[in-house]
């Protein structure tokens, strides 16, 4: 029997199968190309981290190290004595990866925790008490529209000039936030706070206010309500938010570069400084550090994925 289009059912089916196959191939082709585009720099970085200095900028490029070596890692972690043939600066830098790692962990973790505590409390009050008015939640995000470099310069003036000047005048002691842990933690907390508020708002809004009403009618104090009802329900959201903000801090470069030197050194800043007089940019150790910085981000990213699903799907309440 011929159908309207002049095809038998068998021909129509064959056409459908053919079209689906073409579509699928096309879809996968585009995705593969995109994945390659995204993943290539990471591949290059990891590959370079195992190359000896002669291969870093070889032409034609060596896609894979011809003589794989752990030398770069040895250098940045200094878990064996440094080859005396290496330049003096490189030997010194091999020591400073540990300090950079420590500084980055300290600053990023503290700032993320601080931002999480403040932001969660703010999100709660914005969600429940409409603090700041109806449009406040949108206003918050516009803060992020200011280019970081604008913030960096003005904060630098505060940290390095205004605050020391004011404190020496008023207190008689010169207090500077420039190149201090507190200074960097404060600016990281402030710059990530809008994200925390924005993300936590999503999670707090998900918890119906009537749950809190019900608990209060049963005699629970406001503190008990927050501890027993709200916190358990937004906990996974808080984990997600913490990880997200931690990654933001971990990858931050511009503020750290502007507001610290030489005492506080985060990993991203350290990465930038890896060069020697004799060899120029030390691409090998840089790639090794880059790889080491990326690993926690990838791990946290995978964790976030898991928690994001949980975070957004706990809404089991019939609406």
């Amino acid at each position: 029997m011929a159908l309207k289009a002049g095809l038998t059912p068998e021909q129509a089916r064959a056409r459908r199968v053919r079209r689906e196959r073409v579509r699928r191939t096309l879809r996968h082709g585009i995705l593969l190309a995109w994945t390659f585009f995204i993943a290539f720099p990471i591949f290059w970085m990891v590959s370079t981290s195992f190359k000896d200095s002669g291969e870093w900028v070889a032409w034609p490029p060596h896609w894979l190290p011809e003589a794989p070596t752990l030398h770069n890692y040895a250098q940045i972690f200094a878990f064996r004595s440094i080859d005396p043939s290496l330049s003096r600066q490189a030997a010194e830098q091999a020591f400073s990866i540990w300090k950079g790692l420590g500084d980055a962990l300290l600053v990023c973790t503290t700032a993320a925790l601080l931002a999480l505590l403040l932001g969660a409390a703010l999100a709660y009050s914005i969600s429940r008490f409409q603090v700041g008015g109806r449009y406040f939640r949108h206003t918050i995000l516009t803060i992020r529209m200011i280019p970081p470099i604008v913030v960096a310069i003005s904060v630098l003036i505060y940290y390095a000039i205004l605050i020391p000047y004011a404190t020496s005048g008023v207190l008689g002691a010169r207090i500077s936030l420039f190149d201090t842990y507190i200074g960097l933690i404060l600016i990281y907390t402030a710059s990530t706070l809008p994200f925390v508020i924005w993300m936590m708002l999503t999670f707090v809004d998900e918890v119906p206010y009537t749950l809190e009403h019900a608990a209060r009618l049963m005699g629970a104090s406001r503190i008990t309500v927050i501890r027993r009802i709200v916190l358990p329900l937004v906990a996974s959201g808080m984990v997600v938010t913490f990880l997200f903000v931690f990654i933001l801090n971990w990858a931050e470069f511009l503020l750290a570069l502007t507001l610290t030197h030489p005492e506080v050194t985060t990993l991203t800043v350290l990465l930038n400084k890896f060069q020697s007089a004799s060899e120029g940019r030390l691409y090998g150790p840089q790639a090794a550090i880059g790889t080491m910085i990326t690993i926690p981000v990838v791990v946290l990213g995978i964790l976030i994925q898991k928690h994001l699903v949980k975070g957004f799907s706990f809404g089991t309440i019939r609406k």
């Binding site: 009537t210 009403h213 019900a214 608990a215 209060r216 309440i317 019939r318 609406k319």
Partner: protein, 357 residues
């Protein structure tokens, strides 16, 4: 045991008055239902009784104590919410136990009372489940058990059946009524569903635009609505309304509307003043018959099984509905004669909707 007195209660949100000066006495052990369309202020009133909203003005007295400044947890109330508000991260047992735990009841007594409350609403088998594993009806019972367990003197219920399907809702009505009788507590129930109000309430408070229109027993409200609003809100299908004038004639009053005349030959109706008025007649009091004086044309029939609704246009141009027996020969387009049962006619002021008699 608790009696609630509401005096001049006002709640405003900015310039908007959600509750506009209401007075109401809820008797001890009574099942009182506040009913009205969305935005009439019934939930706001309930929230003020519970303490979740602070009144802008007025007093709420529970058992001779002014509770305006008491915390919600200090008023001895239990509340079932529209969305039930079960804690999703706690088991059914912990949900029911929550109120006891926050008031530091000893563990052994907690177990005993939770089991007793669960038994009262037949959910013993659910205690280890999470709320999301319960069906709609089961969640409903969990919410009830959670309220029962603290043994409150007053139960507040904010449209608790609205999330259930139609059949379950009817079943739960019966159960709630039985529960009320068994617990002997005061129930204050909010709904927009007039059928729910009619079937369960001892008394109904009908609200509109932040005010109470009428308080009375279900039959009172059905048979003697205090205003056109109340008359229109109760009953399915909606009462027939015809605008016209009341004129004095020999021996009583005549209602006239564009050629439709209805003699108000009734001792009560005879006393109403001459004015512009709205005549209200329920569909079951519109009588169709050969010899009836008024004429019309059938537009539509709706067989409901036990009765049939006949929608027709009178020659004067009014669209009316009559409720007749299940088997009727009337078809769309057929002519029809009708009259109103004078004993069941309602007259309302055309200006303010108030009952005239």
């Amino acid at each position: 045991m608790a009696r609630i007195v509401i005096e001049n209660l006002v709640k405003t949100f900015g310039a908007y008055a959600a509750v506009n000066g209401i007075n109401l006495e809820i008797r001890d052990g009574e099942f009182l239902i506040m009913v009205g369309p969305s935005g009439c202020g019934k939930t706001t009133t309930l929230n003020m009784i519970s303490g979740l909203e602070a009144p802008t003005n007025g007093r709420i007295v529970i058992d001779d104590t002014v509770v305006n400044d008491l915390e919600p947890g200090e008023r001895g109330l239990g509340m079932v919410f529209q969305d039930l508000a079960l804690f999703p991260h706690m088991t059914v047992f912990e949900n029911i136990a929550f109120g006891l735990r926050v008031t530091k009841v000893p563990e052994e007594e907690v177990r005993k009372r939770v089991r007793a409350a669960a038994a009262a609403v037949h959910i013993q088998a659910l205690l280890d489940k999470l709320p999301r594993q319960c069906s709609g009806g089961e969640s409903q019972r969990v919410a009830l058990a959670r309220t029962i367990v603290t043994d409150p003197a007053v139960f507040l219920m904010d449209e608790p059946l609205s999330s259930l399907d139609a059949k379950l809702r009817v079943d739960m009505r019966t159960e709630l009524k039985a529960l009320h009788r068994r617990l002997n507590a005061t129930f204050v129930y909010v709904t927009h569903d007039q059928a729910e109000a009619m079937t369960m309430a001892d008394r109904i408070a009908v609200m509109s635009k932040g005010r109470i229109e009428q308080v009375g027993t279900p039959l009172d409200i059905y048979n003697r609505p205090a205003s056109q609003f109340v008359a229109g809100f109760f009953g399915t299908p909606t009462m027939n309304f015809i605008e016209g004038t009341i004129e004095a004639v020999r021996g009583g009053r005549l209602f006239r509307s564009n050629g439709l005349e209805h003699s108000l030959a009734d001792s009560v109706l005879a006393a109403v003043p001459e004015c512009r008025a709205v005549l209200g007649v329920r569909s079951e009091h519109v009588i169709l018959g050969e010899s009836a004086p008024l004429k019309g044309t059938v537009q539509l029939t709706e067989p409901l099984g036990d009765t049939t609704l006949v929608h027709f246009d009178s020659t004067a141009g009014n669209r009316l509905v009559a409720k007749v027996g299940p088997s009727t020969a009337l078809q769309p387009g057929s002519p029809v004669s009708f009259r109103f049962d004078t004993g069941y006619c309602h007259l309302f002021d055309a200006e303010n909707g108030a009952r005239l008699h």
